[in-house]
Symmetry: C2
Subunit: 349 residues, 2 copies
C-alpha cells in the first residue's frame, strides 16, 4: 500500500474524515423520509452492520420534521442530501444534521450559497460536494464531453463557490458508473486539491455488480493512498453495502474488522464439507473482534503449508480435520466437531 494522500480533516458529528482518520463507511437510507418508524429501523440495521455515517434525502419541508427526530435518535452522524433548494439545507442544519451534501452551483445565487456556507460554518458542519457523471453542468459537458476531466472540472467549480465565502470544511465525491472513469477522476482531483475525498461508484447495480465495480475502483484508489470515506452503492438492502465496504477496507489493509478468514476454493482433493464448515465459521466469527488470521483449507497436504502464517486453521482430511497453528499440526478433530473445536481454540487465543 502506498502512503496515504494528505487531506484536510473535517469533523462529521464526531466521525473525523480525512487526515489520518480511519477511512469511514457510509450508507444512505432508502426508506420514506416522512416515516420515522421505518427510517429508525433501517438506521438500527445499518448501525448494527457497522455503518458509521448515514445519509438521508430531504426532498421537502415536511421531511424536516422527520429529520429532526432522526438526528435526535441516531447514534451515528446523519447527513442531509439536498438537491436544488437551499432552504432545505438551512432547515436540515437547523434539524441537527452533521453534514450536508449539496452542490452550490445548483442552488441559485451567491446569496444562497453564502447563507448555506455561513449556517454550516456556524455549526462546524462540513459540506460534501457530490458530482455524478449524470449531473455535470452543460457548459462543462460541451467542453470536455462526459469524461473524468468533466467530473473534476465540475467539482472544482462547486468548490470555488464555497471558497468564495471562505468555507473550507469540504469533502468531495466525483462518481461515475464507469469504473475506469471513476478511478481517473479521483486520481486527478486528488492531485488538484487537498480536500478529503468520499469514494464511490454511482449506479453500481445489484450485489455482485456493485461488489465488483466498487472493489475495483475503490480498491485501486485506496491501495494508492486515495480516499477518506467510502460509500458502496447497491441496488438492494443497504446493509449489504456495509458488508462489501468492510471487505474492501479489510482487503486493502485500511481497516481491521476482526478475524481475517482465508479459505481455499476446494477441488477434487477435498474430502470434507469445506464450504459448509467455512460458512459456519464465518457466521460464528461475525462478531469476533480479534485481529487474527484463520485458515480453512480443503486438503491435508497443502493446508498447513498454504496458511503458514495463519494464527489457527483447519485442513481437511478424510472424515476429519487437522487443527493447525502457524503451519504446525496440533491435533486431529472428527469432521462433526471441527467448527466447535476451532471456535473454542479461537476463544482461548
Amino acid at each position: 500500500m502506498m502512503e496515504r494522500r494528505f487531506s484536510r480533516q473535517v469533523n462529521c458529528g464526531g466521525v473525523l474524515i480525512g487526515g489520518d482518520a480511519p477511512v469511514s463507511i457510509q450508507s444512505m437510507l432508502n426508506t420514506d423520509p416522512h416515516n420515522f418508524d421505518t427510517s429508525k429501523e433501517q438506521i438500527d440495521t445499518l448501525v448494527n452492520a457497522g455503518c458509521e455515517i448515514i445519509r438521508i434525502t430531504v426532498p421537502d419541508t415536511k421531511s424536516l420534521e422527520t429529520l429532526k427526530l432522526i438526528t435526535e435518535y441516531s447514534s451515528v452522524p446523519i447527513v442531509a442530501d439536498i438537491h436544488f433548494d437551499y432552504r432545505l439545507a438551512l432547515g436540515a442544519i437547523e434539524a441537527g444534521v452533521s453534514k450536508v451534501r449539496i452542490n452550490p452551483g445548483n442552488i441559485g445565487s451567491d446569496d444562497r450559497v453564502k447563507a448555506v456556507a455561513d449556517a454550516a460554518g456556524a455549526k462546524g458542519i462540513p459540506i460534501r460536494i457530490g458530482v455524478n457523471s449524470g449531473s455535470i453542468e452543460k457548459n462543462i459537458l460541451e467542453k470536455y464531453g462526459n469524461t473524468a476531466e468533466a467530473l473534476v472540472e465540475s467539482a472544482l467549480y462547486h468548490v470555488s463557490l464555497l471558497e468564495k465565502f471562505d468555507f473550507k470544511d469540504i469533502v468531495i465525491s466525483i462518481k461515475s458508473s464507469d469504473v475506469n472513469k471513476t478511478i481517473s477522476a479521483y486520481e486527478q482531483i486528488a492531485k488538484a486539491t487537498n480536500y478529503a475525498l468520499h469514494l464511490g461508484v454511482t449506479e453500481a447495480g445489484t450485489y455482485t455488480q456493485s461488489a465488483v465495480k466498487s472493489s475495483i475502483a475503490l480498491g485501486s484508489l485506496l491501495t494508492r493512498g486515495i480516499g477518506d470515506t467510502i460509500r458502496v452503492s447497491v441496488t438492494g438492502d443497504p446493509a449489504e453495502e456495509i458488508e462489501i465496504a468492510k471487505a474492501i477496507l479489510s482487503a486493502t489493509g485500511n481497516r481491521k474488522f476482526g478475524p481475517k478468514i482465508v479459505s481455499c476454493p476446494t477441488c477434487g482433493r477435498t474430502k470434507v464439507d469445506l464450504i459448509g464448515v467455512c460458512k459456519e465459521v464465518e457466521k460464528r466469527l461475525a462478531k469476533c473482534t480479534k485481529d487474527i488470521k484463520v485458515a480453512i483449507m480443503g486438503c491435508a497436504v497443502n493446508g498447513p503449508g498454504e496458511a503458514r502464517d495463519a494464527d489457527i486453521g483447519l485442513a481437511g482430511g478424510t472424515e476429519e480435520f487437522l487443527l493447525f497453528s502457524k503451519g504446525e499440526i496440533i491435533r486431529k478433530i472428527p469432521a462433526s466437531r471441527a467448527v466447535e473445536e476451532l471456535i473454542e481454540e479461537i476463544d482461548k487465543l
Copy 2:
C-alpha cells in the same frame, strides 16, 4: 485503461492465452476426480455459465482414466493440476489435456523436468507454473520472507528449469491470499518476463470476500494492462466464480458480455419497487448478447440525467416508470408493465 502488457501467446486447446487474445476465464472442478458423472455435470454447469478453461486435479494414476473420459467429453480445454508426481503429468498429457499446471522444482531431477517438457512440447501444450504464497521454497522464504519478492523469485526459479530444456510455452501465476502482495507480485513478474500471466488471489474465501479481494487485485492489474487469463477462487459453487470473473472483465473494459446494467441504490425519493424491477431485468437479460447500456433509476428527476448515455432505461415515478432513451423521455409505463415493455424495447434495438 492502460495499454496491455506484451506477452508471449500460448495455445490452450484452441483458447489463446496472452498476446492480443481476450482475457479468458478459468475455473476448477471440485468434484471427485474419479467420478466421471458428477464431473461431467459440473463441466456442463461451468460451460453454461461461461467458463472457457477448466482445471481438474489429478491426484493418482486411477484418476487418469476419468481424465481421459473428461477430455473427450468437454467442449472447453481441460487443464491437469499436478503436484509432485511427474508421471501423472505424462499420463495427463497422454489423456488429452490442453495444459498442465506443474511446478518443475517440485518433481525431482532434471530428467523428469525434461520428460514433462518434451511430452508437452511434442503436443504443443503449454505449462502453467503456479506459485502460491503457501508453497514457496524454504531457501527463498529464508532469503526474502513471505513477500511478493519471494513469489517472484520462486516463479522465476521454476521458469528457469523449463527454459533449460528450451520449453517456452509458459504461463505464470503467483497468487497470495493478501491483495496488496498479489498486486505487487504480478507487477514485478510482469516486468521481469514476457510470459503470459494467469491472475488470481489464492484462498480468497466465500462469495463476498472473494468477489472483493479478486476484484481489487485483478481489477488493479487489468486496468494497468497486466493479465491474460483469470481465475476467481470462491469457497462455494464454482459457477459463482464465473459470474464474478465476467463482472470483473466487464467492469475493467476488457470484455463485453451483453448489456451493461446501471442501477441506482434507491433512496427516500424512490416510490417504486426498483430493486425488484432491477433483479427481474437482470434475470431476463442474462442470455442477451447485445452490447447496450441499460439504466434502471429510482427517481424521475435524476433518472434520465444520470443515465444520459444509456441506450435505454427506466426512471421510477409514482406507480409508474418513464421509459427513456439516450436521456430523452419516450413514454410513461404503468409499474406493473415496466419490465415487460422494457424487454420488448430492448428486443427491438
